[in-house]
């Protein structure tokens, strides 16, 4: 099995578990944010599974978009607020840090995949 796929699936699942845990433990009661958390978790699990079993490459683009969106939402929630919700630093600990690391891994692996793919397709001189 392709190691990049496996690592991306694991990182997605970690991000999904983190969001699902926070949703179950209180975030479900925060308007809009709660819904966003359960959607993030559900889509993360779905993409993780499909990438793991060898789905098409656009799944990895979707995973990168999801992780990038989650990272963007994290930044907004620590700066100007997001749907009337804001938090500070790495709270809630350790879930915020775990999610951010997992999402950075997903985006990083996607970049590795894209670069590798382009190199492979480049005409040989």
């Amino acid at each position: 099995m392709n190691v990049t796929r496996l690592a991306m699936a694991v990182a997605l699942a970690v991000s999904g578990v983190s969001h699902a845990y926070l949703y179950i433990h209180g975030y479900q009661h925060i308007p809009t944010i709660g819904t966003a958390f359960v959607v993030q978790a559900g889509v993360s699990f779905a993409l993780a599974l499909l990438i793991l079993i060898g789905g098409p490459s656009w799944l990895q683009w979707a995973a990168a978009a999801l992780a990038g969106g989650a990272l963007g939402a994290f930044v907004l929630s620590r700066t100007v607020g997001l749907f009337g919700f804001s938090e500070q630093g790495w709270q809630p600990s350790p879930h915020a840090a775990i999610s951010v690391v997992a999402e950075l891994v997903v985006v990083g692996l996607w970049a590795v995949y894209v670069i590798g793919h382009r190199r492979a397709r480049a005409p040989q001189s």
Binding site: F45, L50, L59, Q88
Partner: protein, 309 residues
């Protein structure tokens, strides 16, 4: 004509559609499972009653005359009806300040009279800056200050929860201010409590820096919150900003509530927080009440916002 290498044929289209369908289906199924687990966890916690349930109203501004809401008394009455029509009797109702617009005796009489219509065993209040315009809150305390300490602060215990009501609208410069006496009160008030006691704090002005440029914060709140750091669950509910906002800092969650009178702009949206006149028919979507419930064993309170519409 030959197909370009990147062109998708029919078979590939069907295959990709199947993958897409699988992704959507799995995502929906995953979301359902998580929601179900959350619901089951909630139900399990609810079985562990006693539960505290109360309602929050804020910023009724009785006496306000302006285009943003020409009938603040009418909308406050609607808020009262909304609370009275909940499927249960709340253990208490808290009004988080700016009961009146100009702190006249007539306005205090009117709002007090209106609140006697609430179907609840207890009504608690904290003053807003509009309730203490010209007398340091004396008229407010005459109307609502029975049983309070200092300039109107107090605390009580209910269903295993410790509730603290603070006054941060006196001695205002730009931000809200608690003062030395009140900080001392907080320190002593919680000193003997076990750290697993859930704490709820009411104030009018936010105890977090929501938007200090507009005075939406309290200059010495950090000191008060430092006494609460050791508690596992601290929830601060405030009014003043006329909009729902939520923020967490460590063990403390802050929830700004909406108003029953008129909306204010979002932080930084314009030069100053002036009443916003909404298009016809939209006002009651922006006004509302809040239901709050606490179940023993739960680390957070459950909040539900209800519009007046």
């Amino acid at each position: 004509m030959t197909d370009a290498p990147d062109t998708m044929n029919r078979r590939q289209l069907i295959r990709h559609s199947a993958w897409f369908g699988a992704a959507v289906g799995l995502a929906v199924a995953g979301g359902e499972v998580i929601s179900h687990v959350a619901g089951t966890a909630d139900a399990a916690r609810i079985q562990g009653r006693p539960t505290l349930r109360f309602a929050q109203v804020s910023d009724s501004h009785i006496g306000f005359l302006g285009k943003a809401n020409p009938n603040v008394a009418g909308s406050f009455n609607q808020a009262i009806d909304r609370i009275n029509n909940l499927s249960y009797t709340p253990d208490f109702v808290i009004h988080t300040g700016d009961l009146t617009h100009l702190a006249t005796p007539g306005q205090f009489d009117q709002v007090k009279q209106m609140m006697t219509g609430l179907h609840t065993p207890h009504v608690f209040t904290v003053p807003g800056e509009h309730d203490s315009i010209d007398d340091g809150g004396q008229k407010y305390r005459s109307a609502f200050g029975a049983g309070t300490r200092g300039d109107g602060w107090y605390s009580f215990d209910i269903a295993g929860v410790h509730v603290i009501a603070l006054v941060n609208t006196l001695n205002l410069k730009k931000l809200g201010h608690l003062g030395v006496d009140q900080l001392e009160f907080v320190a002593k008030d919680v000193a003997a409590l076990p750290s697993d006691t859930p704490i709820i704090v009411f104030s009018h002005i936010p105890l977090f820096a929501m938007y200090p440029d507009w005075g939406w914060g309290t200059d010495d709140a950090a000191q008060a919150l430092s006494y609460l750091r050791r508690f596992s669950s601290v929830t601060c509910l405030n009014g003043h900003v006329h909009q729902v906002f939520c923020k967490t800092e460590g063990n403390v969650t802050f929830h700004s509530g909406t108003t029953t009178a008129y909306p204010l702009p979002h932080p930084g949206d314009g030069p100053a927080p002036k009443p916003v006149t909404l298009p016809a028919g939209k006002l009651h979507d922006a006004l509302g009440i809040r239901e709050v419930s606490y179940t023993r064993g739960q680390s957070t309170l459950a909040l539900k916002e209800k519009a007046l519409q």
